[in-house]
Symmetry: C2
Subunit: 180 residues, 2 copies
């Protein structure tokens, strides 16, 4: 059930490249008033690509925010005119170099509901074909493609090698389907 | 291995209540230059409280960003002078009304490494005692405490009733320890 807060005063708004940042004064349903910061994000899509061998395709991707490379499933922001499904279709091709025959929607997750409205749609991709000439990656991306068994992914989560929350969540949502 | 991007120009900086928002021009390790938006966050801690019965303590919490109540494990932002462990200790008391004899660190997760540096430390809490007079919640919090079996938590993740990514990730990291 939606319970919108009451907007009392707009304070700050900045439209960034991928999302907007705003600070407003709200009255919450419990009557408390305060200035609250929020990322307004168009949402994203994440794909768990399952190869015919049962292995999963992951990316080792440079993230400037944490100044290092981390393991993630292919994912990206929903661009204008796209649906979560078409974003998933584009990202699996651009980032992993495979096209998927089937993309099954597994559910949405919220990344940081304390300060962001970003929802990410999770898709399980099967019927993968390696593209002979994959589309260009976004120019600021710096990505290496890896294949891992579901068991290796689970082990990497438990050992702390995989620390990306959307990747860990997506694996949790499909592990009963992909574990060999 | 840390690979810091090269800062070319500062553009925008706003210090919010819980985190800072900045937009800067960077040169990335792959030589690409661009204006990149980033949340600078002090980090947080999440607690999975395990009752003597084996049930887990969750919260149904109002989130203004998505205008509704969602299920989450107790969690919060690291305040000045705190460590992730002391934040975990404080949050389990404030939000769930239990004190924990043991808080075992299970690892850090990143919530949205594409645009935020927020890391959340995950702690498994055992030896719980219900507090007779729990400390006050933060005044803007609007929380109901629930107990669920690990099986019910897993089912709620697979059915889409639990959609908070840090909660799903934390459950994935401890499910082999808490499933009855």
């Amino acid at each position: 059930m939606l319970e919108p807060p009451q907007l009392l005063r707009r304070k700050l708004f900045y439209q960034g490249r991928k999302f907007a940042y705003e600070v407003n004064r709200y009255r919450l349903p419990n009557k408390v008033e305060g200035e609250l910061e929020c990322i307004r994000h168009p949402g994203g899509a994440l794909v768990i690509p399952v190869l015919p061998s049962g292995e999963l395709v992951l990316l080792k991707q440079y993230r400037f925010t944490v100044q290092r490379r981390i393991l993630e499933f292919p994912a990206g922001t929903i661009e204008p005119g796209e649906t979560a499904l078409s974003t998933a279709e584009r990202e699996v091709q651009e980032e992993s170099g495979y096209s998927a025959e089937t993309l099954k929607f597994m559910g949405d997750i919220l990344l940081a509901p304390g300060y962001s409205d970003e929802a990410v749609g999770i898709f399980l991709a099967t019927g993968l074909t390696k593209l002979e000439s994959p589309p260009d990656q976004d120019e600021d991306e710096d990505i290496e493609v890896l294949c891992m068994t579901p068991e290796a992914v689970e082990k990497a989560i438990l050992s702390g090698e995989i620390i990306d929350s959307k990747t860990i969540s997506a694996f949790m949502m499909v592990r009963h389907l992909v574990m060999l």
